[in-house]
């Protein structure tokens, strides 16, 4: 029996249309729009002005405060304006607009394709490099990586877990990266191990990617302390706590971090970015994005400069189908629907799913038949039908007792409800109210 997490979970149709599409480079666009907040935490502060000439890899906004990240120019050219945009999450934020001229990289980046195995930097230097190069978690959470590498006093990390699960349907960017950049990823993992001062790293991959499992297993035999583990296919195995439970059978207590069970989790894409940052001194200004959807003529996996308009990417995939009803940034389970195709690609965008109108429409809500399917699939053993009822009725105190704030918004409950009830919509609402309530209580 393959390992997996024990409670709940679902298995939606995989639709991995682009699993066999090698990663190709999307041409540098004519202009880019680079938002200053592409990470969890405080937005970075812009340090360039209109009219400035910037080069690829140059810092254009510096991190502000502890939880933040540097932002780099992904192209060379002139800053045409600094303005507010509505980002892919629908929030207003500042962005730097750059008109592209050529592609001149800053000299410190090593542009050779040679694989550099030897890790010269010390643990502290690695952490500092991750801060400078603006590395954030590329699985979607975009948490600044250097913070995860800074173990707070009193805590101990003894295991690094690498997330190669890619449990969201449609997405294949991590899968392709593992196949094409396996060695770089493993060097990246070794770098992370060195920074965390751990002897062991486990890479978890779901069994629907046997080629990646084989490939990395073979490569890992020449790396010290790294093992590859096949996992049963089950959503949401890519969630940190579920992955930890699956791999080492430890349960991260509610309200705590993986570090509280001695583990740090990083995504394979992040490991690759760390490799490039540490070995090649390359800041995070491009990433692999899966562009997919059943209506697209040429879905694929592309290396895309941050700030490229989503529409460019859709063009590269054969153009936007006429019946498009939704464009999802991320996977269909947890991704966000975009308002339009003009928004830029950002660090946390692992994929774009273009969905036909018909599929994108919600079905009519029926009464709850109390079938308990939502409870059965909830990976946290919450009772979604109840949480929805409580949120609907405004019984937030009771909802808090029922641990509404534990919900990780995986969407499994809404996915499986035979009555098409919008469980997660209401749970989100309840959750944010409860969090607000708790905050007010604490300030009193």
């Amino acid at each position: 029996m393959l390992k997996t997490f024990p409670i709940g979970g679902i298995h939606p149709p995989e639709h991995k249309l682009t699993a066999n599409q090698p990663i190709s480079y999307l041409p540098v666009p004519a202009s880019v729009t680079i938002p200053v907040s592409q990470h969890l935490g405080a937005p970075a502060t812009v340090i360039v002005a209109k009219g400035d000439y910037v080069r690829t890899g140059q810092v254009i906004a510096t991190s502000k405060g502890f939880v933040s990240a540097n932002i780099h120019s992904s192209v060379s050219g002139k800053v045409s304006k600094i303005d507010t945009i509505i980002d892919s999450s629908g929030y207003k934020q500042t962005a730097v607009y750059i008109d592209v001229e050529g592609d001149e990289w800053i000299e410190s980046i090593n542009k050779s394709s040679e694989i550099l195995t030897e890790i010269k930097l010390s643990p502290e230097e690695i952490t500092k490099r991750c801060l400078e190069t603006g590395i954030v978690g590329l699985g979607g959470a975009t948490f600044p990586t250097y913070i995860k590498l800074t173990i707070p006093a009193g805590k101990k990390c003894n295991l690094l877990i690498i997330n190669g699960v890619e449990c969201e349907p449609y997405l294949t960017s991590d899968h392709r990266l593992m196949l094409e950049k396996g060695e770089e990823i493993l060097i990246g993992v070794s770098i992370l191990m060195k920074a965390l001062k751990v002897e062991r790293a486990m890479i978890g991959i779901e069994e629907n990617k046997p080629d990646a499992i084989d490939h990395l297993t073979k490569l890992a035999s020449s790396f010290k302390g790294i093992t590859v583990h096949a996992l049963k296919v089950k959503y949401p195995q890519g969630a940190e706590k579920q992955l930890i439970k699956a791999l080492i059978n430890r349960e991260v207590p509610s309200g705590h971090l993986p570090l509280d069970v001695g583990a740090v989790v990083q995504n394979v894409g992040t490991a690759f970015a760390v490799y490039e940052a540490v070995q090649k001194n390359k800041p995070l200004f491009e990433r692999v994005v899966t562009i997919t959807g059943n209506g697209l003529a040429k879905p694929g996996n592309f290396v895309v400069r941050i700030g490229t308009p989503v529409s460019d990417l859709i063009e590269a995939a054969g153009g936007m189908p006429g019946d498009t009803g939704k464009i999802i940034s991320g996977g269909p389970m947890m991704g966000k629907a975009l308002r339009n195709a003009d928004v830029p690609v950002v660090k946390g965008m692992s994929g774009l799913v273009v969905m036909p109108l018909e599929e994108s429409e919600r079905l009519e809500v029926q009464p709850c038949i109390r079938c308990a399917k939502c409870c059965t699939v909830c990976p946290l053993n919450l009772e979604p039908y109840l949480l929805m009822k409580l949120a609907e009725k405004g019984l937030f105190e009771k909802a808090e007792e029922e641990r509404i704030t534990d919900c990780m918004e995986c969407g499994s409950c809404s996915y499986c409800c035979p009555s098409d009830r919008p469980l997660l919509d209401y749970i989100r609402l309840g959750k944010s109210t409860v969090i607000k309530m708790a905050r007010e209580r604490n300030t009193k």
């Binding site: 409670i7 207590p253 269909p332 079905l363 038949i369 946290l380 053993n381 009772e383 499994s412 009555s419």
Partner: protein
């Protein structure tokens, strides 16, 4: 951008399951038992089913259309399931008007007054059944014995159910070994060749339905297994202590409504608990109550009452028996 994009929140995909598909799955799972019933009891079985199903659906329609003035939901399949289950709990020669009354009570009283599907505390089919059992005790305990597919509706030969034979016999001082000659053999009972309500007799057919529902993930094993398990354990204890005054566990499991009740009635979504822990407790309580009523109660059969009694406790169980949440126990590594 010409067309406005839909920006509804995640998840953006939905599973295949719908209420109607689940209900039709239950209907399909009931088919082997219906077939067996027709083979043993003939036309009567079909007449009872047709009456019950059509009147359940009709009452639901009429009430929603004219009384409640609400959207019509008969297509969700739940009235169909109620109609089938009610029929399964009736003798195959029951007069049509009684069936219609039972259907009315099931749909109008037990389901619609509480707000329709999802809100009724008691299993509608069982409420209908118990109502007519109390109102028409003679007709409701006048069980046809299996006489083959050609049996007409009115000319069914009737007799007592095996459970009633045992209950009466024990009351009259007969011993189990004597009584065992008066009831069908274990194999006959397993196949359903005995007197009883039309859908409850064939353990084999009901088990096929159970396996199908498990496979389709319509229900989980918790409730049926805990009911059947508890009845088995409880009756084994009684039987081992006094084999001459207690029927064997096999007899208890194969007769009466244990199988039908455990697999199809107690697992009704609306009226059963929401988490595995509560489901098991609920099932065990039903098992115990069933045996208590059978062995010490006034009625030879107790499954319906046991389920209805436990239905009443479901809201309480849902409120106080909680699943263990992920990460609840603080375990530091």
């Amino acid at each position: 951008m010409s067309n406005l994009l839909n920006i509804s929140p995640s998840p953006h995909i939905h599973g295949e399951e719908t209420t109607r598909k689940l209900m039709l799955g239950v209907v399909l799972a009931l088919m082997p038992a219906l077939l067996t019933s027709v083979i043993y009891f003939g036309a009567g079985a079909l007449i009872v089913v047709a009456t019950s199903v059509s009147s359940c659906i009709l009452f639901e329609y009429l009430l929603q259309r004219f009384v409640l003035k609400k959207p019509i939901s008969i297509t969700d399949g739940s009235a169909l399931v109620t109609g089938l289950l009610l029929a399964f709990n009736l003798p195959s020669n029951l007069p049509v008007f009684i069936i219609v009354i039972g259907s009315f009570v099931a749909i109008a009283v037990a389901k619609m007054t509480f707000g329709g599907l999802g809100n009724n505390p008691f299993n509608p089919a069982l409420v209908g059944r118990v109502f007519i059992l109390i109102s028409f005790p003679v007709q409701m305990t006048n069980w046809p014995v299996p006489a083959g597919i050609k049996t007409g509706y009115a000319d069914a030969i009737t007799g007592a159910t095996p459970l009633a034979i045992i209950k009466e016999g024990l009351k009259n001082g007969e011993s189990i070994s004597q009584l065992m000659h008066k009831v069908p053999t274990t194999v006959q009972m397993f196949l359903g060749k005995m007197g009883g309500s039309m859908g409850e007799v064939a353990a084999l057919a009901l088990l096929i339905g159970f396996v199908y529902m498990l496979y389709r993930k319509i229900i989980t094993w918790h409730i049926p297994v805990s009911i059947i398990g508890t009845v088995a354990i409880f009756t084994t204890i009684l039987w081992l202590r006094h084999p001459e005054s207690n029927a064997s566990p096999v007899f208890h499991l194969l007769t009466g409504g244990v199988m039908l009740g455990a697999i199809f009635m107690a697992t009704d979504y609306v009226t059963s608990p929401m988490n595995p822990k509560a489901m098991i407790i609920y099932g065990c309580c039903i098992g115990i109550l069933t045996v208590v009523i059978r062995v010490w109660g006034a009625y030879p059969e107790g499954v319906s009452f046991a389920i209805l009694i436990m239905n009443a406790f479901v809201p309480l169980m849902n409120a106080y028996i909680k699943p263990k949440r992920f990460g609840e126990e603080v375990k530091y590594g």
